[in-house]
């Protein structure tokens, strides 16, 4: 009981952070199993699953919907945007805890409840919803439109509404913590880039999730209170004609993507900040253009609110709006490119030091993040152009794009963070050999899974198809071999995570004892707890490669300094 009170029912920021990571682990495990079921079905469409039978199209769509919802919200959002800040943020800015510890615990338990409600959708009559994680009405507004669109859809709506409130509480907490509880001397110009990222991503959460919450409420009203925000007059679903109101499905698309696009930056900005810190640390060089990087994070955050229409080029939106959103989207490529160039600059500088870059496991995963950020980012300028996107929209090219830039880049930054901060949490180091195996197998599995999807998409293979039969089968004459190659890679990708699980458990129990600052890092979370209370800091976040000290770095908590 006392163990529960200390580690589970607590407002301690580290315990809350670890519980968030536990939610991520549950969600990612289920999400991966769902995706493997889909992949196996795509490669062997006639396969009979024991106890289930051949996968029906509606089953496949339910798997897609819950897989997407789990991964986007419960893995790629709460991992970088809730778990890591709860664990690390107070330490990094010299605060004792989050500004509102109780609110932090409330957000956590709301998120846990929301995960429970989402998964309950599988158990209700007619099962989980089938309209994808974007849930376009009228398919999502009218229960008769498909199996799972009745109670299953209500579960989805309720789950995301709870999740949105939890996110808003979480963001308020992070903002208050960053703005109000920094140790003296931790000026904006001395904040690590992770803190800058959480500042911007939390600023994005407030309007984005508020709009999502509003849209969810409106959709709920359409479903149960006979309003017509999203359903037009005369809509005829399954023989039943709607004879009241006159709403527009396009309104949902605007509201959803006004949330949805900033959401992808909420998911990836913290990873970008972490990559900057790790590249500096393992290159033993300062971040190239620190101020520029902080500015570009702000620029990406601002531009992120002006690009939602690039999800809607084929939606029936005015073609002039297509041009406008195409141009704003191309504009966001510039700050993203500057970030990549700065990372390359830091790595270039580090490679010139004696012994080159330090390729410990957290660094490998940060480099993997960079590789996926480049690979997935470079297809962005193609999809940003309405003239090309109208061919590629909702094909597997898009699936490849967002799995590389969002899912794989996001997952690799989560891995990097776990390997990097593991000694801080447990006092032990993770095993390097297992870490290296984990990295290379995961990298190969990920590219093997998602790279060929570009080619399938160029050939015209649409998303959300349980089977590509009928006239469309002629688009991909060699469909099954390519599906099987992808499925084998996906199985490899999933199996490679065994290295991580074994490493995690073994290292937590038996790993090498870590020093107080095992990576010789500069940021405050690594300050030895034996030192007396921190009153004032005088150093920047990335003072590596400093000539006049015996070690090659000056931690932010060091005495003295010439930075005033």
């Amino acid at each position: 009981m006392s163990w529960l009170r200390r580690h589970v029912f607590t407002t301690n920021h580290r315990s809350v952070g670890l519980l968030y990571l536990a939610l991520v682990a549950i969600a990612v495990a289920i999400g991966v199993v769902l995706s493997l079921l889909m992949r196996i079905h795509l490669a062997w469409p006639a396969l009979c699953f024991p106890g289930w039978g051949v996968m029906k199209p509606e089953d496949y769509l339910a798997l897609v919907t819950i897989h997407g919802t789990l991964m986007v919200f419960f893995v790629l959002t709460i991992g970088p945007q809730n778990a890591f800040p709860s664990l690390i943020l107070p330490g990094q800015i010299g605060a004792k805890g989050m500004a509102f510890p109780a609110l932090n615990a409330v957000s956590l338990w709301m998120t846990a409840l929301s995960l429970f409600v989402l998964l309950a959708a599988f158990l209700v009559p007619m099962g989980a919803p089938i309209s994808g994680w974007t849930s376009y009405p009228p398919l999502s507004a009218i229960a008769a439109a498909g199996p799972g669109q009745a109670l299953g859809m209500d579960c989805w709506l309720l789950s995301l509404a709870i999740f949105a409130v939890g996110q808003i509480f979480g963001a308020i907490n992070i903002l208050a913590t960053i703005i109000d509880t920094r140790v003296k001397g931790m000026t904006l110009g001395r904040m690590p880039l992770t803190v800058w990222s959480w500042l911007i991503s939390s600023t994005l959460v407030l309007p984005a999730f508020s709009v999502l919450l509003a849209a969810l409420v409106l959709l709920f009203c359409d479903r149960h209170l006979a309003t017509s925000f999203f359903v037009p007059l005369g809509d005829a679903v399954a023989g039943h004609v709607i004879r009241y109101g006159d709403g527009s499905p396009l309104l949902w698309l605007h509201l959803f993507w006004f949330f949805g696009h900033p959401e992808v930056y909420i998911a990836i900005l913290p990873g970008m900040g972490l990559a900057s810190s790790l590249f500096a640390n393992f290159s033993r060089r300062p971040v190239v253009g620190y101020k520029l990087m902080a500015t570009m994070t702000v620029a990406i955050g601002l531009l992120g609110f002006l690009v939602w229409g690039h999800h809607m080029f084929v939606s029936g939106m005015n073609p002039y709006a297509g041009t406008a959103f195409g141009l704003t989207t191309m504009a966001i490529a510039i700050p993203s490119t500057i970030e990549v160039l700065s990372w390359m600059g830091t790595l270039w500088a580090g490679s010139k030091r004696r012994g080159g870059l330090i390729l410990k496991t957290p660094m490998l995963f940060a480099l993997g993040f960079l590789s996926f950020f480049i690979a997935g980012g470079l297809t962005g300028p193609i999809l940003a152009q309405p003239a090309l996107d109208i061919y590629l929209h909702n094909t597997f090219f898009v699936v490849a794009h967002f799995h590389l830039i969002m899912a794989m880049a996001g997952a690799f930054s989560l891995f990097a963070g776990v390997y990097y901060w593991f000694p801080l949490i447990t006092g032990r180091r993770m095993n390097e050999t297992l870490g290296r195996f984990h990295f290379w197998f995961t990298l190969i599995g990920a590219y093997g899974t998602f790279f060929p999807m570009h080619l399938q998409g160029l050939a015209g293979k649409p998303r959300h198809y349980a089977d590509l039969t009928g006239p469309a089968a002629s688009l991909l004459p060699n469909l099954l071999p390519s599906e099987r190659g992808i499925t084998f890679s996906a199985l490899l990708l999933a199996a490679s995570q065994t290295f991580f699980l074994v490493n995690l458990i073994w290292s937590a129990l038996r790993g090498l004892k870590a020093d107080a600052n095992p990576w010789q890092a500069t940021t405050l979370e690594w300050r030895p707890s034996s030192e007396e209370e921190l009153k004032l800091i005088r150093h920047g976040p990335y003072e590596y490669d400093v000539a006049w000290t015996e070690s090659d770095f000056i931690p932010q908590w060091a005495e003295g300094g010439d930075q005033e």
């Binding site: 376009y136 498909g146 003239a387 006239p471 469309a472």
Partner: protein, 246 residues
């Protein structure tokens, strides 16, 4: 069964007038960005493998050449891409179809595409959602009280004469559907409550798949049809046979 020619960019053969420019744009965009991908990764591998004997020179690149030139270069690439693509988009979408283009209405319904030709009076008959009865031969709900509807032809395949511009009017009865004709380099959602237009000119005879590209329910993957592009004379004969069969 015609063998598909192996195209370096995997795109299915194009059969629309506007598609050649789009394919060209797609190929050079893929080539430039693919090259960037390769260069970046070659550079990453060099940095990984580089082992200096001793620390050398200024550790952080500070020269103007290294800091500014790549940014300007990438900005120029993105700007060129944006301008060329926007010009193509504008030429395709900023103006509607020519007045003499052929009119066909496309209706999406779970899980079937219907194609309606206006018949000899060149005018579509009025629709009433409460009259939709696929089992009784009126899947679109054409109102029998409207004279214009009497000669409308409803087909389950899209048949078009080669070389003539067609103006498609898109409707959806129930949920959002996505009309995707890969060979015509064309995709447009059909949205309930909205009438949307797209226009194109098929330039090669043949039979091409039409698919639904917006998830619309359990039958989404089988919501497919065929586009048959035939010669003008053959098209006239097909239309006449359809009129006779009414």
């Amino acid at each position: 069964m015609k063998m598909q020619s192996a195209s370096p960019s995997w795109l299915p053969p194009n059969a629309a007038a506007h598609g050649f420019a789009m394919d060209h744009l797609m190929r050079w965009n893929l080539a430039v960005l693919g090259l960037c991908f390769l260069i970046a990764h070659a550079l990453l591998f060099i940095l990984l493998l580089r082992r200096s004997k001793s620390s050398t020179g200024s550790p952080v690149p500070r020269s103007w050449m290294v800091q500014v030139v790549p940014i300007v270069l990438f900005a120029a690439i993105y700007l060129t891409m944006a301008i060329t693509a926007e010009r193509l988009w504008a030429s395709k979408r900023f103006e509607g179809a020519a007045p003499q283009s052929m009119q066909v209405e496309v209706t999406g319904r779970q899980f079937q595409w219907y194609f309606r030709y206006p018949g000899t009076d060149a005018t579509f008959g009025r629709l009433d959602p409460s009259l939709i009865q696929p089992a009784n031969g009126n899947p679109l709900g054409i109102n029998p009280a409207d004279e214009h509807g009497k000669d409308d032809i409803v087909a389950s395949e899209l048949v078009l004469p080669v070389g003539r511009e067609v103006d498609l009017t898109l409707r959806a009865q129930d949920v959002i559907h996505g009309l995707f004709i890969p060979a015509m380099r064309l995709k447009q959602n059909a949205v309930p409550g909205q009438l949307l237009h797209v226009h194109f000119t098929p330039v090669a005879e043949g039979t091409y798949p039409i698919v639904c590209s917006q998830v619309c329910g359990l039958g989404h993957a089988r919501m497919q049809a065929r586009l048959r592009v035939i010669g003008a004379g053959e098209f006239k004969a097909w239309l006449a046979s359809k009129e006779a069969a009414r």
